[in-house]
Symmetry: C2
Subunit: 195 residues, 2 copies
DNA sequence: GAGGAAATGGAGGTGGAGTTCCGGTTTCGC
DNA sequence: GCGAAACCGGAACTCCACCTCCATTTCCTC
């Protein structure tokens, strides 16, 4: 019953897999989810068949990319957790996380969906990290106490979605986030949040 | 060179046109832009051919709906302009406008695009109304002065996009907007907005 | 280097969504 | 009422994007 360890990829296969990922990242970041597989292949300098050999489905390819970006966001959250000041830690994580979102159209579209195509462990670790950031910022009295964890992806996703509008200045997301961060401060709350 | 006044629609055509619009509103509000024309027809209790007789293209149908919702938002902004207190006028307009957005997935997707398929007059009137709301709220010292007009659709669009996630509580947009409004108050600004 | 397994590429199959077309039906002016 | 014109319905067509297939090439093992 031992799981047969997968034989290592051949050299050319490994190289091409990397090229596909690279091309896909570029194409999906620019055109969002509905970029086309043929364009990915062309960008990667590879045939469509090769793309499909490495990723059986468009969805699988998109997921692979999303996982990678998700890990980036998680890493930035963990780095922020090392900051002593709770409010600075919290806002630092937001700035870093949103920067990833704002740079990639497809990623924002994906996390804006109901079902994430990820392994749940990653999600759980993500929740953990952000839960700590939120709780610490609440405990210190900096973050308004009626914020819940689910509010955070709502904000960040909103910023991402609003920023990918093609005609929009690329730096606009910074203004957007700055406003939200000011709105999140406990001292700035004009009243309790609804429901 | 007189433009031939269009003959009035026949009774059944007028009735069906209305049914198509009604069905389309429902279907697009729920499924967003990529709802299907066949579904619109079915919802309207009408053949696809009839849909295409009244709206030559899917895009045309979507635009017609969007104009109607846009007019709703404009009307709510004008109503808000009659409120004396500048800050209350401004926030009232936001609450009303976002409520329309949050209820309609396709509409949010459309205004999140580069080119709006509208007649420009409507856009200009919209700009006028919001410009006044923004300026008055700045002049009274309530709204932070470094906000520009273009920031407003960015915020509202972000809220709309973040809210149409199917799994999300329908009232979440209120929390989102409440945070942003608190962030927009001049007294709550922690620093100047970037660029 | 030879044999064979793995990987490649891109022409074409497949399916689904937008649009067209036209025989049949409904409405309106006379 | 009657004829003509407008309108309706939905089967069929088109087009485009995802995906498959296999002859050919590349790489690894012995």
């Amino acid at each position: 019953m031992s799981i047969p360890t997968e034989r290592p990829l051949r050299a050319d296969a490994r190289r091409n897999r990397e090229r596909v990922l690279e091309g896909a990242r570029a194409v999906f970041a620019e055109h969002g989810r509905d970029a086309q597989m043929d364009d990915v292949a062309r960008k990667a300098g590879v045939g469509v068949g090769t793309v499909y050999r490495h990723f059986p489905t468009k969805e699988a390819l998109v997921s692979a990319l999303a996982v990678s970006l998700f890990e980036q966001v998680l890493a930035s959250a963990r780095r922020a957790l090392e900051i002593d000041d709770p409010w600075e830690a919290f806002t630092t994580a937001l700035w870093a996380g949103v920067e990833v979102l704002a740079s990639d159209r497809a990623f924002t579209e994906i996390i804006g969906q109901a079902e994430m195509p990820f392994d749940t462990d990653l999600m759980a670790e993500m929740n953990d990290a952000y839960m700590q950031l939120v709780q610490r910022a609440k405990d210190s009295g900096d973050l308004r106490p009626d914020i819940v964890l689910d509010d955070i992806p709502m904000f960040t996703c909103g910023i991402g979605m609003a920023t990918v509008k093609p005609h929009m200045c690329q730096a606009a997301w910074r203004r957007h986030l700055a406003i939200i961060i000011d709105g999140l401060r406990a001292t700035n709350a004009s009243g309790p949040l609804p429901s």
